[in-house]
């Protein structure tokens, strides 16, 4: 008996969830710094080339693949050829791995929502974050036990993720994203308005967008642009394939792909004005060169921004709450998609009820995540992230392009997308999938391997990189092989066209 497949309640719900998955912490803390350090406004040229030759084509590829196969990544690849099933498990498992520490970063942001009241981080925000809050140990092997402050937020963030995903696609993820995304948008507008109206903000924005065209002749800038596009869009995470498998039959795939990718990148571009406006204000207030205040990633969010909040002329607590709630919301819509990417594969493979699968996935991820809640958690997080992103997700992207482009046939997915979409894809799309994306990702992959074998990543001991980094990569591959070798509890290999419901 064929069970009725879950479906999105509306097109808006799907688009909100897909944008929510793509928009994450990186949009707020990474894009603007990358633009600044790679030629300012000139970086937009390679960035847009990457967006239109790799980002949007892969987004449409994944939407078309999930929609046509009516299956999550493992099932969709298994339908191409049984032995290809592992190519669906690898990105799903990488999403699972990423989830285990992504939730921890959200936990920090949640803690900082509370610390905003009374600006609890004090004057020395660096010492507060790494010392008082994370209680960072002096080395990765000095684990030092669970950090209680992080653990409390960790439980709260997991509870939200759990209660959203257990309710399913339309009732859980869709409804949550219909709240998260508009709220995030409003908060972001407030952040940007506050950022650009501060004294010195224009100076910061000049640093963000002032073009240095000499930099775009550097191949590294192009590799960075493709990498940024690839990771920001949540492609090769098994998320978009799973999400599009829940779309109704007559969904416009190409237009949804363009909207999702442009909304994600447009959001990053927009937030750059907020963060660089604030950084410009800091440089102006302290009367120091801009280079001394600029930062990215964890340092920007948990050290520099709290410092800037201290310096604001008014409403400091309110701005702190807005900024960190925005981080939490941006992250939550991504973390629920990471749960769904893996859990939906388990549900499909083992014909498991959603509740049981979510209990299992969240339970295991929670337990594994505890290592990142320890006093050495930041070290583990940094290494795991580097290796999973560069060796599993990048490889999954290359394999996806090769398998779907050459073996399955990019033209078949293009014809499928064109049959339901208003925007028609030409053979240029096949070229992007078959040549541009795998070549650029391949070069990036080789450069990463070369770098990691000549120098220990992050200056950590080789033992840490081998055990934690390569250990995570090898564990992902082994579990992927185990999952793909087990028997399907549900007959998914029926005519895919018959499965499509209107």
């Amino acid at each position: 008996m064929e069970e009725k497949r879950e479906q999105w309640g509306s097109r808006l719900g799907f688009v909100m969830a897909a944008i929510g998955s793509a928009i994450g912490l990186g949009n707020i803390w990474r894009f603007s710094y990358m633009t600044y350090s790679n030629g300012g406004g000139a970086f937009l040229i390679p960035y847009f080339v990457a967006l239109f030759t790799a980002g949007i084509p892969i987004m449409i590829l994944e939407f078309s693949f999930g929609h046509k196969m009516r299956g999550t990544a493992p099932a969709a690849f298994a339908k191409v050829k049984k032995k290809f099933e592992i190519f669906g498990w690898l990105p799903a498992l990488a999403s699972f791995g990423l989830l285990t520490y992504y939730v921890v970063i959200l936990s920090w942001a949640l803690s900082y929502v509370f610390y905003s009241f009374g600006l609890k981080w004090g004057e020395d925000t660096n010492a507060f974050f790494f010392g008082n809050y994370l209680q960072l140990s002096d080395g990765i092997w000095n684990i030092g036990g669970i950090n209680t402050a992080v653990f409390i937020s960790f439980i709260l963030i997991w509870a939200i993720n759990y209660f959203v995903t257990i309710r399913g696609i339309a009732e859980g993820i869709e409804k949550a994203c219909k709240v998260f995304m508009p709220v995030l948008f409003i908060l972001s507008v407030i952040i940007v308005i506050r950022g650009i109206t501060l004294p010195g903000a224009i100076e910061g924005i000049n640093w963000y967008l002032k073009p240095d065209f000499s930099k775009i002749w550097n191949p590294k800038v192009w590799i960075d642009a493709y990498g940024q596009i690839f990771f920001t869009l949540s492609v090769a995470f098994a998320v978009m394939i799973a999400y599009s498998s829940y779309l109704p039959k007559d969904s416009d795939l190409s237009n949804n792909g363009f909207i999702t990718a442009l909304a994600n990148c447009g959001y990053s571009f927009f937030m750059g004005f907020g963060t660089f406006g604030i950084l410009g204000y800091m440089a102006h207030t302290q009367n120091v060169p801009f280079e001394e205040v600029v930062s990215q990633s964890i340092g920007l969010a948990f050290v520099t921004i709290p410092k800037a909040i201290n310096m604001l002329p008014g409403a400091n607590t309110l701005f702190g709450v807005i900024f960190f709630v925005a981080l939490v919301f941006a992250g939550l819509s991504s973390s629920i998609s990471l749960i769904e990417a893996f859990a939906s594969g388990i549900i499909e493979k083992y014909n498991m009820p959603r509740k049981k699968a979510i209990n299992l996935v969240c339970g295991i991820a929670f337990i594994i995540g505890l290592i990142f809640v320890t006093k050495a958690g930041l070290y583990f997080l940094d290494i795991a992230d580097h290796f999973l992103a560069n060796y599993i997700i990048t490889a999954a992207g290359i394999i996806e392009c090769i398998v779907l482009g050459y073996i399955y046939g990019a033209h078949k997915l293009r014809e499928h997308a064109n049959a339901v979409s208003e925007v028609m894809l030409g053979s240029w799309w096949d070229f992007c999938i078959k040549v541009v994306t795998p070549v650029v990702l391949g070069i990036s992959y080789i450069l990463n391997i070369k770098a990691d074998f000549t120098q220990s990543y992050g200056g950590y001991p080789w033992s840490a990189n081998f055990i934690v980094g390569w250990g995570a990569v090898i564990a992902t591959i082994i579990v992927g092989i185990m999952l793909s070798s087990s028997k399907w509890k549900k007959d998914i290999f029926v005519d895919v066209n018959k499965e499509v419901q209107g």
Binding site: R11, G40, G41, L44, N206, S251, N255, E422
Partner: protein, 32 residues
């Protein structure tokens, strides 16, 4: 703002926000 930064702002805004507005308007006009 410096002229170069203004030009790149317009360039980014037209491609990203203009592109998004274009595809959103198409989506709203279609029944899909």
């Amino acid at each position: 703002m410096e002229p170069g930064a203004i030009v790149m702002f317009i360039f980014g805004a037209v491609v990203l926000w203009g592109g998004l507005a274009y595809f959103l308007s198409k989506a709203m006009k279609s029944k899909g």
